[in-house]
Amino acid sequence: MKEKITREEVRHVADLARLDLNPDEEVQMTQQLNAILDYMEKLNEVDTSQVEPTTHAVERANVFREDVVGPSLQRDSALANAPQTDGVHFVVPKVI
């Protein structure tokens, strides 16, 4: 049976997901995703040509609130869990 997802594609998807799989993980992931995606074929037994998709189980219209300033997190609390800060900003490795 034709593979649904090749190892090459697994590498591409891992890149999109910002994951860094090692070669063993790539092999295992390819195998497992293929088994799972084969099972998903089942959905093609169902005729959905006239069916709207459901994104929320309980229908809701847009929810609005007044555009007023309310209390929000203080800077110190917002920075408290960061791996690295300079007290004012989040600090990350160089980008360019």
Binding site: Q32, Y39, K42, A82
Partner: protein, 487 residues
């Protein structure tokens, strides 16, 4: 009188108000039991002993009023996916090992406002992804009924802690069965309310269109009581319902005579354990004796639930978990040579295998060229699954069915085959996709002594009828009174 740790929430309240026990005695009873038993069960990730005892003393000295708060002095446990201000919240993941939320989830804030004492945070499958609690970065939880077996998941720690009397009650979360399935495996009561009933503010997101918070308790009355406290509109969650919750305890004792209950023929799947099937037959007989009319119904798209769910939930997860990048909170791989490498290495070291698998599955199904074939298709099938239920409820007041086709399986039994693990969720996923409320209530034990749960499902906003049926069943059986005996 039973030991203090054996009391339900409402019994604990009674004992406290009648001054038969002090809050300190109740809290101490639980803390001693956790100390004694939890090394082997592993149901707690954090125990708040000092904080809980301090609060208990404040109640006992009269600094805090015990009287008018429905949960005053009651020690509860929280699944470690609910943000607790100043208390580590790990989600069962390495990536959040040191995360200390600067705020309380709305559900947590409501428990506190109503007097509850937080005893600790419970173990879970990493980011609530799993059906066995084996995906926790902090080791598996064991089932109090058989230490070689899983407690179910993902709220396995909460269910095991309630079953082993390590708390008076707990909160869990249910995305595809994560409250009902562990409740069934551990012989306790677990309820998933209608999607949107309880605010998700401060609940660390897994699959936002499915996640719901709910109670895991020693009896049905406690489930009603706990749900009453946490349910209701919250402007901080735009998906939280405005429909009034109503009095969830009012109908508990109302007779069910004349009600029509649907039994979905598709829920008696191939491979169902014969002892589970027998427990179901016995449960159905109890409802008949109580005057309910039982009719066979059909939910024709049941068999597509697993496929639809395992596309939709991982897709949402892949988006929700993009936030773990080692910048604002969570684990960071130090000394990465640039930003992109830092993202990749932090995520790779921080996430476990199942979380990576779901991120990969979700990223793939949302990626260019595959969206229509997978995500859109699954969302259309979701519509059909929801319509199945809506049509079924034209002909019945509620649905009764098994929660899981088997009792608790062995630790390690399904870890090598993710698809087999997913398939064990076949009877809980449809209600999650449809957003309807459901409960698991104990309905028997296998010859090996493992608990079996009965699932009661109601229409959208039908929490009261679900609780009424479950309570009537519980009152007329004694399955919920049995306790696991530890070695």
């Amino acid at each position: 009188m039973a030991g203090l740790h054996e009391l339900t929430i409402h019994e604990t309240r009674g004992a406290l108000l009648r001054k038969e026990a002090s809050v300190t005695e109740v809290v101490t009873a639980y803390l001693e039991r956790i100390e004694e038993l939890d090394k082997s069960l592993n149901s707690y990730l954090t125990v708040l002993a000092d904080q809980a005892l301090e609060q208990a003393r404040a109640y006992d000295s009269g600094t805090l009023p015990l009287q008018d708060k429905p949960l005053g002095g009651v020690p509860l446990a929280l699944k470690d996916v609910l943000c607790t201000q100043g208390v580590r919240t790990t989600c069962g993941s390495r990536i959040l090992e040191n995360f200390i939320p600067p705020f309380d989830a709305t559900a947590v804030a409501r428990l506190k406002e109503n007097g509850a004492i937080l005893l600790g945070k419970t173990n879970m499958d990493e980011f609530a992804m799993g059906s066995s609690n084996e995906n926790s970065a902090y080791g598996p939880v064991r089932n109090p009924w058989d230490m070689e077996r899983v407690p179910g998941g993902s709220s396995g720690g909460s269910a095991a802690a309630v079953a082993a009397d390590l708390c008076a009650g707990a909160l869990g979360t249910d995305t595809g069965g994560s409250i009902r399935q562990p409740a069934s495996f551990c012989g306790v009561v677990g309820m998933k309310p209608t999607y949107g009933r309880v605010s998700r503010y401060g609940l660390v997101a897994f699959a936002s269109s499915l996640d719901q918070i709910g109670p895991i308790t020693k009896d049905v009355r406690d489930a009603a009581l706990l749900l009453q406290v946490v349910a209701g509109h919250d402007p901080r969650d735009s998906t939280c319902l405005e429909q009034p919750v109503g009095d969830l305890q009012a109908r508990l004792d109302e007779p069910i005579r004349g009600m029509t209950l649907g039994i979905p023929k598709e829920y008696f799947v191939e491979g169902m354990d014969p002892e589970v099937a027998r427990a179901m037959e016995e449960a159905f007989a109890v409802f008949r004796d109580l005057g309910a009319r039982l009719v066979e119904i059909s939910l024709p798209h049941t068999d597509y639930g697993v496929a639809a769910y395992y596309i939709i939930a991982p897709a949402e997860a892949s988006s929700n978990l993009a936030r773990y990048d080692g910048v604002k909170y969570g684990f960071r791989k130090q000394e990465a040579r640039d930003l992109l490498t830092m993202y990749r290495e932090s995520r790779n070291l921080g996430f476990g295998a199942e979380v990576k698998r779901r991120i990969m599955l979700g990223t793939y199904s949302l990626s260019a060229g595959y969206y229509d074939a997978y995500y859109r298709k699954a969302s259309q099938v979701r519509t059909l699954i929801k319509q199945d239920f809506i049509q079924a409820f034209d002909n019945c007041d509620a649905i009764i069915a098994p929660v899981v086709p088997t009792p608790a399986f062995k630790i390690g039994e399904k870890t090598q085959d993710p698809l087999q693990m997913y398939l064990s969720d076949v009877l809980t996923l449809p209600a999650s996709l449809a957003g309807i409320p459901g409960i698991s209530v104990p309905c028997g034990h296998t010859s090996g002594g493992l608990p079996v749960g009965l699932q009661v499902l109601g229409p959208h906003f039908g929490e009261a009828v679900v609780l009424q049926l479950a309570h009537n069943f519980e009152k007329n059986t004694d399955h919920g009174n049995k306790k696991p005996s530890f070695p």
